[in-house]
């Protein structure tokens, strides 16, 4: 059976690492309730999504949570 690639966007990186995610992105300083950014800020939301999806094609770093700043 072949798995399905996943990428996690998390605002709780320490907790998420316990689950050993194959790919994970943490927008620094964001909290639950706005993981993908501010309301109606489509540019920011798209930026975060594309960074997350970009981990699918980036050099593998399984088990790591990549933290990035989004202003």
């Amino acid at each position: 059976m072949v798995g399905i690639p996943t990428v996690l966007v998390t605002v709780e990186p320490a907790e998420s690492m316990q689950a050993r995610p194959p790919r994970a992105l943490c927008p620094r300083g964001f909290i639950a309730g706005h993981t993908f950014g501010r309301p109606r800020d489509s540019a920011l939301q798209r930026w975060i999504i594309m960074d997350a999806l970009g981990l699918l094609t980036a050099p593998p770093a399984p088990g790591e949570v990549i933290t990035r700043d989004y202003g």
Partner: protein
């Protein structure tokens, strides 16, 4: 027929499936634990619910509601895309940055019944995801 023995993964293993890109040819699904449901579906029990909801692939954020009291709703009351970026995925598909949005997405709600979540809910959810076989799954909490 003899059953194949189950192999328990080491707790230090990271389950990793390579992505067979490019992203422009990928169908992307959202799987969330943010308590999101379609407006026509029953909400999650906010005190604890081990069920999941399927969200139609053609739903928009305006069709979605959130049934979870365990995180701040100040942003999602204005824009569900803050936790479930379904409109953004559509836009990316229209721009051909991904090929398509999945036929369905899924959301779980809040629960502390972790054993039931692991032993019952998750296998059922995984079967649904596998049946649809997206090229990639975007996992998110609230």
């Amino acid at each position: 027929m003899t059953e194949k023995p189950t192999i328990e993964m080491s707790r230090y293993c990271v389950p990793f499936t390579p992505f067979r890109g490019p992203l422009e040819e990928a169908t992307v699904m959202i799987v969330s634990t943010a308590g999101v449901h379609h407006v026509e579906d029953p909400p999650f029990d906010t005190e604890g619910d081990t069920s999941f909801r399927a969200i139609p692939g053609d739903a928009t954020a305006a069709d979605l509601r959130v049934a979870d009291t365990h995180y701040d709703h100040d942003c999602i009351d204005k824009d569900v895309n803050c936790v479930f970026p379904i409109d953004r995925l559509y836009e990316l598909a229209e721009e051909r940055r991904i090929r398509a949005v999945a036929e369905k997405h899924f959301s779980l709600g809040f629960t502390q019944a972790l054993r039931q979540l692991r032993d019952e809910t998750t296998p059922r959810l995984v079967r649904e995801v596998e049946r649809l076989r997206p090229d990639a799954v975007l996992l998110t909490g609230g």
